[in-house]
């Protein structure tokens, strides 16, 4: 029920306009209204914290992203796909004498050295499922083992963090559909991309169409009507932003498949009120022909590395208020399979980068790779529950106060946090 009350008290500019049209004078609480609106206006200009979530959908092989090159079991069980050790041709990039970064993630190495990039190993869900659909669901609902949860943990964060001024861009997902993680009561925008987002029609028709569709989708809390209204509001603002003429700063560039991060950077710099961005990056389900430094997985990591490095360069000073989190529903088997790939496993590795990050370190307790140290004898064991990592980030960075609502089945014990962010 507390979700209800926080929604009701969070006065948006839209409700203000609507009540305004009905006649503010008729409302007893008018002075309070003015004060709240004024506060909301101020917030839009204030420094806003942004969390960018990159979902490596498909189950990324954490053991190839952050390579435990010092473990004998690593090379033994992966004769065809293990990365060469640091110092060897196209070998892993040494991080701390124990772990190395995949060579295709080299663009991120300077960030690790500068303390802006932290890595978390052996992180994942306590639930044993190896089904993509179940594991993705659990990672997005934040309730492992519970199928009945309809909304996502990122959406619940929106209700549990201080509400900003009215903006349709508070939470934006790039992709065909709104991901489960952002589905729920709080409004979140979904767009394939920013540059083509907008209502299109013959020039002189466009204003009329905007007005007419706004009237058709007015009133009512039905999700369809809500989505229509939000789309039209955002469409107006995107037109002003003129995303097609955007030029990244500091000579930054993005690979074609990483353009969504460039659009996130643009939204951050345009100060439209973005707090949560969600990007889906697929292609990690490497059952066959995974490759080592080159090959299928290497190509995907190359895109990821160059995209994130481009994003960092493009944002420059803005990065002090931004945290990027990569996540995946599970890792992959320790041993390679008969097809030169790896199968669905358990724990994986995640990256956290940005200004507030205490980086330059690989976090998490390392469980080891020997069969008796593994989960069910085959997978890297989970030693960090993903909710402890995510919980720390949203508490410290987004100001979420009620973590029990974000991760309801979890103790949310601050003592279990990794200390990965300052503050």
């Amino acid at each position: 029920m507390s979700a209800m009350t926080s929604r009701q008290t969070a006065l948006t500019r839209r409700t203000w306009l609507k009540t305004g049209m009905l006649g503010v004078a008729a409302m007893a609480s008018a002075p309070l209204l003015f004060e709240r609106v004024a506060r909301a206006e101020r917030d839009v200009g204030a420094r806003r914290k942004v969390l960018v979530v990159v979902f490596q959908r498909g189950g990324v092989d954490g053991l190839s992203m952050v390579v435990p090159y010092a473990e004998s079991g690593y090379r033994r069980d992966r004769p065809g796909i293990a990365l060469a050790p640091p110092g060897k041709d196209d070998g892993a990039l040494d991080l701390d004498g124990q772990f190395g970064l995949h060579p295709r993630l080299a663009p991120l190495e300077p960030m690790f050295r500068a303390g802006e990039l932290a890595l978390v190993h052996a992180v994942g869900s306590p639930h044993p499922t190896r089904s993509h659909f179940d594991a993705q669901d659990y990672l997005e609902t934040g309730t492992p083992g519970r199928h009945s949860t309809r909304d996502g943990w990122l959406n619940r964060c929106l209700a549990s963090a201080p509400a900003p001024g009215a903006t349709p861009f508070r939470a934006v997902a790039f992709g065909e559909r709104l991901p489960r993680a952002l589905q729920g009561r709080s409004e979140a925008l979904a767009m394939k991309n920013l540059r083509n987002f907008g209502l299109r029609g013959r020039r002189r028709f466009e204003q009329r169409l905007h007005g007419a569709f706004s009237a058709l989708y007015a009133g009512g809390e039905d999700p369809l009507l809500r989505a229509g209204r939000q789309a039209l509001q955002a469409s107006r603002r995107v037109r002003e932003l003129d995303p097609k003429s955007y030029v990244p700063a500091n000579g930054a560039s993005y690979p074609e498949q990483g353009r969504a991060l460039g659009e996130v950077a643009q939204l951050i710099k345009a100060d439209v009120g973005l707090e949560l961005a969600f990007i889906d990056l697929g292609g990690w389900d490497t059952h066959a022909g995974q490759g080592s430094s080159a090959g299928q997985l290497g190509r995907r990591l190359d895109i990821l590395g160059r995209s994130l490095a481009g994003f960092r360069a493009d944002l420059g000073e803005h990065m002090r208020d931004v945290v990027v989190l990569t996540m995946s529903e599970f890792g992959r088997t320790v041993a390679q399979n008969g097809s030169g790939g790896t199968d669905h496993g358990h724990a994986t590795a995640m990256m956290v980068l940005g200004g507030p990050v205490q980086g330059g370190k690989v976090y998490g307790r390392w469980p080891g790779l020997e069969p008796e140290q593994r989960f069910e004898g085959r997978d890297l064991a989970v030693t960090t529950d993903f909710r402890d990592l995510f919980g720390e980030i949203v508490t410290k960075h987004l100001g979420v106060t009620d973590l029990g609502r974000v991760f309801p089945d979890h103790p949310n014990d601050a003592a279990r946090s990794l200390g990965i962010l300052r503050g």
Binding site: H132, F133, R150, P168, A173, E176, R177, L178, Q183, A188, L189, A190, M191, K192, F197, G198, L199, R200, G201, R202, F205, R208, L209, G211, A212, F213, A215, L216, Y217, A218, G219, D222, P223, L224, L225, A227, G228, Q230, A231, L232, A234, S235, G282, A288, N337, G338, S339
Partner: protein, 254 residues
């Protein structure tokens, strides 16, 4: 299973990609060194599993009755699966014979998928696709590239997976493009569909009847009237009527 993009459908055995190791599936043992017969045995094992009956029953009821499938309907379809050995005719028969199927609460309640939206828009206008791939691209643009769903569970059925700001905007844009004859592969003739009378009241009535099944909401009718009144040109008026009717909320429901 062959990928549709490869041009042909059906089961295919690829010797080189087969994992010849020992396997255990649902408690059944598959000895090392097996080949194609393993695949057939696996499919048969899955088809006879009770969870399959339940799962497919749920999916059918979700498709034809409601996003949250009523338990009574699911149980009858599940029984039909078991009784008939998975005969699809019997399953559909069980769906339409269930009282839940006819319950007024479940009528006009499901949201159209992008493909359903596109096909019903074309039908409503009596537009005949030219058979080329342009229209398939429109379906992709609306969020449903044909036969290309990345995950093996297929396209989702529930409204929450299709309703979002970007998707609704794409439907509005499609409606505008279709009304103005700008959808590749789908030429329209609005005069033929809506008639030559472009006076407001007759036009609103025929748009409601032809495009919205006579079920337009009061808000839709009111918006159509006031917006159409601002346009003088008869063809532009028809275009706006079609764009608003097909892009508005009423048309998004089955």
């Amino acid at each position: 299973v062959r990928r549709p993009a490869e041009g042909e459908l059906g089961f295919v055995f690829r010797e080189r990609q087969h994992d010849r190791g020992e396997k255990r599936v649902l408690g059944e043992h598959f000895a090392a060194g097996g080949g194609e017969e393993e695949g057939r045995r696996l499919l048969s094992l899955l088809a006879r599993h009770p969870a399959t009956a339940r799962h497919l029953a749920r999916k059918l009821c979700q498709r034809f009755v409601a996003d949250t499938p009523p338990p009574g309907c699911v149980t009858s379809v599940e029984k039909a699966y078991k009784d008939s050995g998975g005969e699809i005719r019997e399953l559909v028969r069980a769906v339409v014979r269930s009282p839940e199927f006819w319950d007024p609460r479940h009528r006009g309640n499901k949201l159209k998928s992008p493909l359903e939206f596109l096909a019903s828009a074309a039908r409503a206008l009596g537009a005949v696709p030219d058979g080329e791939l342009g229209l398939a691209r429109s379906s992709a643009g609306l969020g449903q590239p044909l036969l290309l769903q990345a995950v093996p569970t297929g396209y989702p059925e529930a409204a929450e997976d299709w309703v979002n700001s970007g998707a609704v905007l794409a439907r509005m844009n499609f409606a505008v493009a279709l009304a103005t004859g700008n959808v590749p592969g789908l030429p329209v003739n609005l005069e033929r569909t809506l008639g030559t009378d472009s006076a407001i009241e007759p036009l609103v009535t025929v748009a409601n009847g032809r495009l919205l099944g006579g079920r337009a909401s009061a808000r839709t009718l009111e918006t159509l009237r006031s917006e159409l009144a601002a346009i003088d040109d008869p063809e532009e008026r028809r275009q706006l009527a079609v764009a608003l009717a097909l892009g508005g909320p009423d048309f998004q429901r089955q």
